[in-house]
Symmetry: D2
Subunit: 342 residues, 4 copies
């Protein structure tokens, strides 16, 4: 319909890539064991182990990002152990205190780009000096971050070094890992080298739902399934997750969907840059945060749906535009035309 | 294939009723808001409110049974408040201590049929006498129970009376509520009359996944969505749950699937009764627990897949047979023939 | 005053042994570092290490029994790990769900004497079979038990063997350890041999308040002080605990107080046995549970204060009599005279 | 001894005011009921109710500050409800994540003086917009603060107004309430007018240990003793707390001890001001934070014991000096003399 708004609100507004629905339909009546112990999960896990080049990695398929994060942190930490993260971290802002509800304190670093650096980690670490304070034990990063920024391979390598020096675990929230990998020099095989554990986000990259938790550090592996079950994250029909990730990691579908979303975002970004627009933060992924005069925002909203990110002044607002695996190519031209007329 | 085993292991071994997959496929590319705030969820919730005759009920769509239970109990109780339940209760045995992980103690009643009675509730209640002990605040029942038994409308009415007298909330785990309603005189409209809150199980009755939480008691409604999010139970693509329950409550599909499963179970039961078999507990639903000589068990396992329930003696075992919405009608005759030859 | 009741209600109804008050008065104005890092605590800990013959034991002075138990179990266990204990265990009945509030489930054994046996432990252990259930990780015993019974050295040795075989930790609640040691063949040096950790109760054996936690197993030692602080158990003026335990372990005061309480109880017991009274459970410590006709109970209450333990029948009640380090010797004769006249 | 250091490290380095020890010694052998249900606690509570002019206040005697805070916040809040506090708040920095271990998130305001203002509360409140974030429900203040600053009656009145407007509870940590009352225009009777609950600190004002929790808001009163017991804060010999507070609130002892400590601090402050020293923050209570050249710090440490507070530059350090109820008057002159010679 001509008047329907074009969605730039999120990357989880549609059901799933058709190949996923086809697989589920094809396997619909086959009986399988529950709880993620089935051939579909086995196949998907094997593909992930192959990608990252680690046959010994533990792979668990889980339901959603908050669920993965709270399960992982509950599994990995003792009660007095704390988490270092950026103040914008999803676990700090947008998970309703799920980590604290598991009993752990967050120590947050002030950043403008949502990224931890060795310096920030060391600063927070140095402030916790004795048993009257929590004990930092894990650094949490998101990649891509909540602000659409990414870590380079070298940045991750340095964080790993810092964490090793401070006896910290390094955990990556990969809700938008596809987009990050497609936008940086980071490769699948870097992940097990630099991280103790991470998850690969399916929900925001073409799956109906689901995230793949990957545990590299042997010390973190025991009894993880107990925590999954205890925190409500064990899907009865676990094979649904297996089917989805098995499809996503067939023929490079996962990264090709992420590249598509990034490419759409690149197009939107180019149109804004051409118009001389500034950005809240420079991004390379499927999210961008242009700072726009409020009248422009109002005009764009007649054709596009998107969220505000931050009030900049009385006259300007930073908005959040999200391109998706499902975004039609055509929206780039349409957006460019609109921006051009502003 | 002639040699493939017939599944009597569970009611969640296949993906979903075809009508559900069709709906998702049809709506696949429509963009919707996330987190359960969408027209599909609204439509499904309206149907449920209509069925139970309570326009004021709060309906939330959640991912799985353990997740619903731990969210509801965390939302409803203060830290020192305890739960009375049967020793066989799913929350006591099969949820890896999820309720305790939320901080609450279970007080368990010894039963043979998995059902609470006013007498059992009163006995447990009377033992908690002061602030050195937990304070009982909620009675948890499953219907159907973990043993396949059901509550009659009158039994529920009496439990309600007992709970009112003791200032206890009454909560029902409805993982197999369809089967219970199809097997007893209990009706949809009884539920809000006797219960403070309950959930309607989709996972075991034809959905890909999902349970519908229904809150009747106004005091339990505020901020429930905060708890859903905090405990990892808020699906990003909440509309997936809306689509499924909207289909399940169209044209009575929900109860017709449950009736089908019960009818298959009736057929299996009849064959066993005809053979003179005893049962661990008398059931009316889609689960049965025949006590069989171990040689019979071995012989049946050549054709049927099922779990052991309990060792009865050196020579006999109670096994668990579960019929499903997906079980073909033909298996009744095949099972009867096998039993007859034992 | 002639009419004042003689207290047999508890062993924590008076302030403290005079030697403790004297020490505190003597040290009153000396400035010391807080939080248990001081010379008084060091001295007391050294005495305890000497008694048990383990220079490498970690000793922490804590405030009270519930506080010790909840701190120790929170420190020792991961979230899905459960505790095996007798159904009468203090942590199960009389700590308002403190252990569950730390997130852990209790698996309780049915007993008549409040004691765990290898058979009971193995039975409970064997029922937890996979990640849908909690994972047993620690056996909790009280010595003396809540019913006044004790473990012999050989019984502890066998429990240790059972726990080793099942990879369980063995933890002892020693709220009444003095009484147990004074009443059995168990010796101080047995404790580190058979237990991973235990606490020595001061509150019920002459201290104003305080329990000494002793950790033997190296794996349980790290960061224990973080847990003490986090759970509110770190006394600012920790030296108060140091002073008290330093006095209690001077000149064998600790055991001599316990022997006194046991001896008083022996006297009470003898009077009841002479009268032909039965007991709920046979005890050797400072608590006894005679089963008395209700009229006798009423008559005794004119002279003695004590609690009911359990209703036996319409006409009989088991009562709980507790002798204390503070009980005057004279009460034995007075009690015997009263009983004789019943 | 001439060479012994003069303690300015803390206000909890000595045992107790002699009148307290005398009372305990006098009552030593009197048998009383346990757990704070006794005549001594009743008498002390009555005095506190009288002071604040509220016969209906609930008063509970607890063991220490961290214990009070974690119990109160666990009792007052639902799991998704968060606490607004200054970043310097004791609960944020020095309680090893005790509040988070109870499941609640802290939202911290950046301040230089450790005090919340309506503006800071409103700013933090406004950022939490929906169920993906925690819900602010309580503002926590310390008075005196961790930086030795105090709230005036008018400042508290305005905070109350702000909290009412935002439906927030207002809770005061009174670890150093005596010092605050002695240093400001705030009076006992203001407390119930502006606060929902608060505690009166004994540990840092002459008691062996102990804090008196006062609950004004009726909605926060039910079942508080369950929480005390569950979190390990219920002292078996509760009468010890009753005795102490009964003595502290006899003949104005509580405030006179606080005035003494403040007066000593005033003397120290005057000596530093005379020397032209700047302060990290301006204080009126028993704590001061002078910024000193590092050589001066070294010289003062030859005669006085105190802690560093904050490194200011390569050459200057802010130190923390704490005067106490137990500080001898003579130290003021001695300190002045030393400072004068710097």
């Amino acid at each position: 319909m001509a008047n329907e708004l074009i969605h730039l609100e999120n990357d989880y507004s549609e059901c799933a890539h058709p190949a996923i629905l086809e697989r589920i339909a094809r396997e619909n009546t086959t009986s399988r064991s529950g709880y993620g112990v089935d051939d579909a999960c086995d196949s998907a896990a094997a593909k992930i182990r192959g990608l990252i080049g680690r046959d010994d990695a533990d792979v668990h398929f889980l339901i959603g990002g908050t669920s993965v994060n709270l399960i992982a942190l509950a599994a990995f930490l003792r009660p007095h152990e704390a988490i270092i993260c950026a103040e914008q971290a999803h676990i700090n802002v947008h998970e309703t205190g799920a980590v604290e509800a598991s009993g752990h304190k967050l120590l947050t670093a002030s950043t403008t780009d949502g990224k931890l650096t060795p310096e920030l980690v060391e600063l927070l670490y140095s402030k916790q000096t004795d048993e009257h304070m929590v004990k930092p034990r894990l650094a949490y990063i998101s990649n891509a971050t909540e602000l659409g920024t990414v870590y380079t391979a070298d940045e991750l390598r340095k964080l790993r070094g810092c964490c090793d020096a401070l006896n910290l675990l390094l955990y990556m929230d990969g809700a938008r890992l596809g987009s990050a990998l497609a936008a940086s020099d980071l490769e699948w095989t870097h992940l097990p080298r630099y991280l103790d554990a991470f998850y690969i986000g399916g929900t925001k990259n073409g799956a109906l739902f689901g995230e793949a938790m990957v545990i590299i550090n042997d010390a973190l592996k025991p009894d993880f399934r107990y925590l999954i079950k205890q925190r409500g994250g064990m899907l009865a029909k676990g094979f649904l997750l297996g089917h989805q990730f098995d499809v996503l990691f067939e023929d490079d579908l996962f990264l090709s969907l992420a590249r598509h979303a990034n490419r759409i975002a690149d197009g939107l970004r180019a149109a804004l840059v051409a118009k001389g627009v500034r950005f809240l933060v420079e991004t390379q992924t499927n999210m961008l945060f242009p700072i726009l005069p409020n009248e422009w925002v109002a005009k764009l909203r007649k054709r596009f749906a998107f969220h505000d990110a931050e009030r900049i002044s009385n006259t300007e607002t930073a908005v959040r535009l999200v391109a998706s695996w499902a975004s039609p190519e055509s929206i780039v031209d349409e957006f460019a035309a609109c921006v051009n007329q502003l």
